[in-house]
């Protein structure tokens, strides 16, 4: 039988446990580190958000399997708190608040209405990893005023220039380009950046068109573009839009080349009607495609035995993001002081299942990059040592899922 003092002790213990349930652990006691996410786990953009959270969860599982995040003499269990914004811009603010309430020290920002989430997190001292074009511009232009802002991928504007240089080097017969993008912040920004990048490498931009986000029939745009004879069609943003655009382009005889930077070779190979188009896919970090697996990579670490869903590159980027965050905590000697952790983040490198990635002094996470080229049933993968490199360190020819170095 438990006496009154026992009950009091039990209540006190429960109270203490509840009070300490957030962060600081002491001695052998474990605390928690939470990497939050305000992202698209449902809705039409979940192809980006869901794999990103998959990468975070894989990293948390691996960190915990290795004993947790050790900071000084304390050990922290890695957690992920993913809040779904449903691909709905109006839900971003509520999800961002929930990320703060979850006790997150760092968080992945949304692809849509990113500044809304960031303003909440900036006030609350949450380290923000943003994949969004507009916030990356903020980071580039006002880095000092935004010390907690980071990018889990290299800065897109410079990447687009490199991608076009890589494309022009491999396919010198591309002289003209038309860019078709969705009419939103990301689409407009990417379209302008690709246009500037094309001009920088001497490819003439003969058309820049925006479309409504729910469009499926692109034949009016393509019929108008046909008169301008573009060699390359850059179809931006979501895979479903890109496939629809390039299928219809092939049917109408517009363009010999297509480019989209979020698709995988698997998606291109599965789509019908793209056989006659040379499909170019710049990847801004290492990624995984079962039809074109680089021999050095260990995709099973993040993806297990399952086929990757959505954009697997997002999973890789966030897997590494969690690891460099953990390392920064160790270096800063704190799991709770966001400013100290943010100061320690630049320069952190992690050598993992997809090579080495480094958080640069400019605060973008850089790894090696890939350029996939799909022609018929053949995939050629160009591997570049860093996001600014135009000379591949290796080239692989892949058929039926097996890649051999050329």
């Amino acid at each position: 039988m438990i006496g009154r003092s026992g009950i009091v002790c039990a209540l006190l213990a429960a109270g203490l446990a509840a009070c300490g349930g957030g962060d600081e652990g002491s001695g052998s006691e474990k605390g928690t580190v939470t990497f939050g996410a305000d992202t698209q786990l449902s809705g039409n953009l979940q192809v980006y958000g869901a794999p990103a959270v998959q990468g975070l969860e894989a990293a948390a599982a691996d960190l915990n399997a290795a004993g947790g995040i050790k900071v000084g003499d304390k050990t922290y269990k890695a957690l992920v708190a993913a809040e779904d914004n449903g691909s709905d811009p109006s839900a971003v603010g509520k999800a961002a608040r929930a990320v703060v309430d979850d006790g997150s020290i760092a968080a992945l920002g949304p692809d849509i209405s990113a500044p809304v989430a960031y303003s909440t997190w900036k006030q609350s001292g949450v380290i923000t990893f943003t994949p969004a074009f507009d916030l990356q511009a903020t980071l580039l232009e006002e880095a000092d005023a935004n010390p907690l802002l980071f990018s889990p991928v290299p800065f897109l504007t410079s990447l687009f220039v490199t991608s076009m240089k890589q494309t022009a080097a491999e396919f010198p017969d591309i002289k003209t380009v038309a860019i078709i993008a969705p009419n939103d912040d990301e689409g407009q920004g990417a379209s302008a950046a690709y246009a500037a990048a094309s001009q920088e490498v001497g490819i003439e931009v003969v058309g820049q068109e925006l479309f409504a986000g729910n469009a499926t029939d692109f034949s009016p745009i393509l019929t108008s573009l046909k008169k301008k004879s573009p060699d390359l069609i850059i179809a931006l943003q979501s895979p479903e839009h890109a496939v629809a655009i390039l299928q219809q382009a092939a049917q109408l005889g517009v363009g010999k080349y297509g480019l989209n930077d979020v698709m995988t070779p698997d998606q291109v190979l599965e789509a019908q009607g793209l056989e006659d188009i040379t499909f170019i896919i710049p990847n801004f970090n290492p990624t995984y495609s079962p039809s074109a697996t680089i021999p050095d990579y260990s995709p099973e670490v993040i993806f297990g035995d399952e086929e990757p869903a959505g954009n697997p590159g997002a999973a890789v980027a966030l897997y590494y993001s969690y690891y460099v965050l953990a390392q920064a905590m160790q270096e800063a000697g704190t799991a709770t002081d966001a400013e100290a952790i943010a100061k320690a983040l630049p320069g952190q490198s992690y050598d993992g299942p997809f090579g080495t990635c480094t958080m640069t002094e400019a605060r973008d996470l850089q790894c090696e990059t890939l350029l996939d080229v799909v022609q018929g049933d053949k995939v050629t993968v160009y591997r570049f040592p860093n996001p600014s490199s135009v000379d591949p360190s290796a080239v692989y020819e892949c058929r039926g899922g097996t890649c051999k170095a050329r």
């Binding site: 691909s87 479309f211 108008s224 479903e240 789509a271 959505g310």
Partner: protein
């Protein structure tokens, strides 16, 4: 001129989808007074059922028959089990059908994932006449839409079931007094209306890649077609659906830009409703 003719052909083929969706919505509302806000998701369900059948080895033309029947059957089941009892409560049917649309969308995601799909078919060739490219898939859209809608108009005007539908639409109480089984007649309207959404879905799935999330765009276009055509008027839906597809296409090609594609549709809708609030044609089930 070649470019204009190409745009016209493209516009006509997308009109076929708007017509099938709008006619289905207007027929169901005309007979039952229920506006089915899950109709767009019925279309998407049709694409996924078609996709599942073809992926399982069925020929694409069989999917074109079975998927609309499956979606039509779902419409009947939902009417008999849920909509029928709430038909007089517009707020309840609004919430119910909107909710059903969300549930169907999430079920599709659960079963087939959020990834894009496309129905594999051999219709990837095209014929070029005078510089205008007629793709097989777009010709199929027109080749199916025209006889289906013509057959529906004939059925409504000349068959017993059509007369019963018109009687039920006019006055369900009076219709039942003269021996028309209103529930059965409305079930037939749900069968046909939902099947038309399923048919539009399979045709779209052959022409374009699709995901679980495209239903609302077609629901809104379908509502625009049904409203502007005179709700319940099948001929009105055909005329407005045809106009909508062409206006969208010409607007995208020759207007301020393709990003205004939806804007052109709603400018058309607003103009029609400002001119004739009851729609271009008279309401209730008419042909």
């Amino acid at each position: 001129m070649t470019t204009f003719l190409q745009q016209t052909f493209n516009g006509l083929s997308i009109s076929a989808v708007y017509i099938l969706v709008g006619v289905g919505l207007t027929l169901v509302f005309g007979v039952s007074r229920i506006m089915n806000y899950a109709h767009g998701q019925f279309l998407i369900l049709g694409t996924f059922v078609g996709y599942a059948l073809v992926s399982a080895g069925a020929p694409w033309w069989l999917a074109l028959l079975i998927a609309p029947l499956a979606v039509g059957a779902l419409g009947v089941v939902l009417y008999r089990t849920m909509f029928q009892r709430l038909a007089s409560d517009h707020l309840a049917t609004f919430i119910l059908t909107v909710g059903l649309g969300i549930v169907i969308q999430q079920l599709i995601v659960k079963i087939w994932s959020p990834e894009q799909r496309q129905i594999a078919s051999p219709l990837t060739d095209s014929v070029e006449v005078g510089g205008v490219i007629f793709t097989d898939a777009r010709l199929l859209m027109l080749g199916i839409c025209i006889p289906v809608v013509a057959g529906l108009i004939w059925m409504l005007g000349h068959s017993d079931v059509g007369r019963r539908m018109r009687a039920t639409a006019e006055n369900p109480h009076m219709a039942s007094l003269v021996g028309v089984d209103a529930v059965r007649t409305t079930s037939v309207a749900f069968l046909i209306g939902s099947a038309l959404a399923g048919l539009a879905g399979v045709l779209l799935g052959i022409l374009f890649p699709f995901t679980a999330f495209g239903g609302n765009a077609f629901l809104i276009k379908g509502l625009a077609v049904a409203l502007a055509g005179g709700i319940g008027n099948v001929t009105g839906a055909v005329v407005v659906g045809l106009t909508l597809g062409l206006v969208e296409t010409y607007g995208s090609a020759y207007g301020v830009g393709p990003e205004w594609q939806d804007g052109y549709a709603f400018v058309l809708l607003i103009a029609i409703l400002a001119w004739r609030p009851q729609g271009v044609f008279r309401g209730t089930v008419e042909v």
